[in-house]
């Protein structure tokens, strides 16, 4: 059976069932969302996590995250070659809002405080977003980690910005 994302390249929350943290987890602090659904030979995230919270049976299996211990430090976000890991934080953001951290590899890198458009997994404009943080894992690292603030209901939708 060919699942839909193999045709469209767009994953749905249904495809991610079991891989994403349960709803009550989001109340406890930031957490990584690993949107990796295909068994490919890669274990970069397992190597990246300082606290060894991501595990794999072998190099081709899917990563399993220990949700309860994850602090959403975003190191794996910058290290995933597939740019498939995101951080969702519903605690630090004001009420009704959520913070989403994405890896960003385009120019210009948005400035903190600027208002940008949030895009969903299909590249559709889903609303406005405010950039709250731009970080890099190290000075030479080219992938920027951009955190933006969106409506709470977009926390699991917004995955890119323009």
């Amino acid at each position: 059976m060919v699942s839909d994302y193999e045709k469209t390249g767009v994953i749905t929350l249904k495809d991610l069932e079991g891989q994403i943290p349960p709803p009550e987890r989001f109340k406890k602090g930031p957490v990584a969302i690993v949107e990796c659904t295909q068994e490919i030979p890669c274990d970069a995230c397992v190597q990246a996590c300082h606290r060894k919270l991501l595990s794999m049976k072998n190099v081709i299996s899917l990563p399993i995250l220990d949700f309860d211990k994850c602090s959403g430090c975003a190191i794996c976000v910058g290290k995933c070659p597939g740019l498939a890991i995101f951080i969702v934080d519903m605690c630090k953001a004001p009420k009704g809002k959520a913070w989403v951290t994405i890896p960003y590899e385009f120019l210009p890198v948005p400035e903190v405080g600027s208002i940008v458009r949030a895009l969903n997994r299909e590249g559709e404009d889903v609303g406005s977003a405010k950039v709250v943080k731009v970080a890099r894992l190290s000075k030479d690292e080219k992938t920027a980690l951009v955190t933006f603030e969106v409506d709470e209901k977009l926390a699991m939708e917004a995955r890119a910005l323009r």
Binding site: V2, E35, T37, E39, C42, D43, P81, V109, N120
Partner: protein, 526 residues
């Protein structure tokens, strides 16, 4: 103002350009930077039509950009049929188009293309023979219009090739990509004297244009960008006293399994090697559609070379054909270079590449059309647009589903094919295995072919990835060293471990085809 398509700012890359030089294209003066190739400099100056084809005088521009096709062949400093995409610029260089009059962009002879219906087999001068008394004259007039340029003129820097010395080495490695570099390093670490040969002016093969982070495991640089991997490997090769690297050098033949013919500029030499590791990699396949030779239709890898090696914006709007990993990754890199990607067309009903690569371009708003193919492209001297069409489950075009897409580059990424010719010439037993990309030599699990002492790590033995190429290189390098009685039990253990690693890397569902292909290509040792 003169056109300059060079990229000034890039999210991942910094382009360090050499000193400015001037080259001449016909009568036009063109700015270039040292380290660029002639082809890249012309492209950056906005020249689409480099030259004209033989027979029909159709426009020809850049296609593969890495010296594997004949699309950009021009007359350079009086020498005809020079691949301008690999030859570096030099101040005052004279580049001329071939097979055209008065210039490549306005060629009067291109009328022959319009009269194509009259000459179904091409413009063939022997068809015009009457009256017989004038046939010698016709021959003299018509033949220059059809052939492959004019003869070299001795007074323009052309020197005939001279035979030079005979060289010797223990392990010769042909091709300095991920497999070759890894093989050279591992053979040298065990004590072999290694000669690494590559026809480019830089080590790294196609790694030097891979700006994305690699998959794989830690030992093979997971999460590291390809460009950094190539820097690391090249550094080790340069540091190692056992390795001699010959760049700008072509290997033209392998005789008796141990004598290589090598050409360096105008010099020819023979090299006797005890073991030969062939890691020549692969080249891009192309696709049949109407007008597929129009400048602007390029191999996706060629586009990647232009934008990531030379920092040249290949166009403004692109259409990608093929949604394998190469197509998906390069679409993303086009976006990074500031090119709008209008869509990705894939004939198969599912995306061939890794899902995560598809996801990251989908969320930037690039559509992927599965079960679609490209029907034709149009434009006068450069692609101006393309028509795509839907395919049904029997691969037939569905009528009425044609869709026109405006674009100025069409990137073809419909798969790669091993560069096998050299091994065929060397006498290796070959087999056509579609899972591995085409004709491949049979090999043992230690990467040795049916010709003793010849090893084939990397894409030469079947199209895979850089990480499997690096492990393959390791296996081949250690095997060559072991058979020369370098190394000990420990090295043998190390090789065993590498063979296991390779097996693990190929164990996923996405590698099923590779596994079955490799099985068909395996031979027993001895």
């Amino acid at each position: 103002m003169a056109v300059d398509l060079r990229i000034k700012e890039h999210p991942i890359l910094e382009f360090k350009r050499g000193p400015k030089v001037k080259i001449y294209y016909g009568r036009k003066k063109i700015d270039a930077y040292e380290g660029e190739t002639v082809g890249a400099a012309l492209y950056a100056a906005g020249i689409n039509v480099f030259t004209r084809s033989v027979k029909y005088h159709r426009p020809r521009g850049m296609f593969c950009a890495i010296g594997k096709c004949s699309s950009c062949m021009m007359r350079v400093d009086g020498v005809p049929n020079v691949m301008t995409c690999v030859i570096p610029v030099r101040d005052g260089m004279r580049v001329e188009p071939q097979n055209c009059f008065p210039s490549a962009s306005h060629d009067l002879y291109s009328i022959i293309d319009r009269l194509g219906f009259k000459f179904p087999a091409g413009f063939y001068y022997r068809l015009i023979t009457r009256p017989r008394s004038l046939s010698a004259l016709y021959l003299k007039l018509i033949r220059p219009l059809t052939g492959m340029g004019k003869f070299p003129t001795a007074n323009r820097g052309f020197k005939p090739m001279t035979k030079s010395e005979q060289r010797e080495t223990e392990v010769a490695v042909v091709g300095a990509g991920p497999a070759g570099l890894s093989a050279a390093i591992h053979a040298a670490r065990l004590g072999c004297k290694v000669t690494l040969i590559d026809e480019n002016h830089r080590l790294g093969g196609q790694l030097i244009k891979q700006t994305h982070m690699f998959f794989g495991s830690k030992e093979y640089f997971a999460g590291v960008r390809g460009i950094r991997i190539s820097e690391k490997l090249a550094e080790e090769v340069k540091q190692h006293e056992n390795i001699e690297a010959l760049l700008n050098t072509s290997v033209v033949g392998l005789y008796n399994g141990n004598v290589l013919g090598i050409v360096q500029g105008n010099k020819f030499a023979t090299m006797r090697a005890k073991k030969v590791i062939v890691s020549t990699g692969a080249y891009e396949k192309t696709l049949l559609f109407n007008n597929n030779d129009l400048p602007g239709v390029m191999g996706a890898g060629g586009v990647q070379t232009l934008m990531n090696v030379f920092g040249i914006k290949p166009g403004n709007e692109a259409l990608m054909v093929g949604a394998g990993n190469v197509g998906l990754i390069i679409s993303y890199q086009l976006l990074q270079a500031g090119v709008k990607v209008k869509g990705i067309v894939e004939a198969v009903p599912r995306i061939g590449g890794y899902f995560v690569h598809a996801a990251k371009i989908r969320r930037m708003g690039v559509p992927i059309y599965v079960s679609h193919t490209i029907k034709r492209t149009w434009g006068r001297r450069r692609v101006e647009g393309a028509t795509i069409v839907q395919l049904d489950d029997r691969w037939k075009e569905v009528e009425g589903t044609e869709k026109d897409i405006k674009c100025d580059i069409i990137c073809i990424s419909v798969g790669l094919k091993p560069t096998y010719e050299f091994l065929y010439q060397a006498g290796c037993k070959m087999k056509f295995i579609s899972e591995l990309g085409g004709h491949v030599p049979l090999r043992t699990k230690n990467m040795e072919t049916s010709v003793k002492g010849v090893y084939i790590p990397g894409d030469t033995g079947g199209i895979e990835e850089a990480d499997t190429a690096m492990v393959g290189g390791k296996i081949a390098g250690i095997s060559a060293a072991l058979s020369l009685e370098y190394g000990d039990k420990e090295a043998e253990e190390f090789r065993k471990k590498a063979i296991m690693e390779l097996k693990e890397l190929r164990s996923g569902p996405t590698s099923a085809r590779i596994r079955s292909g490799i099985e068909k290509a395996l031979i027993e040792e001895g």
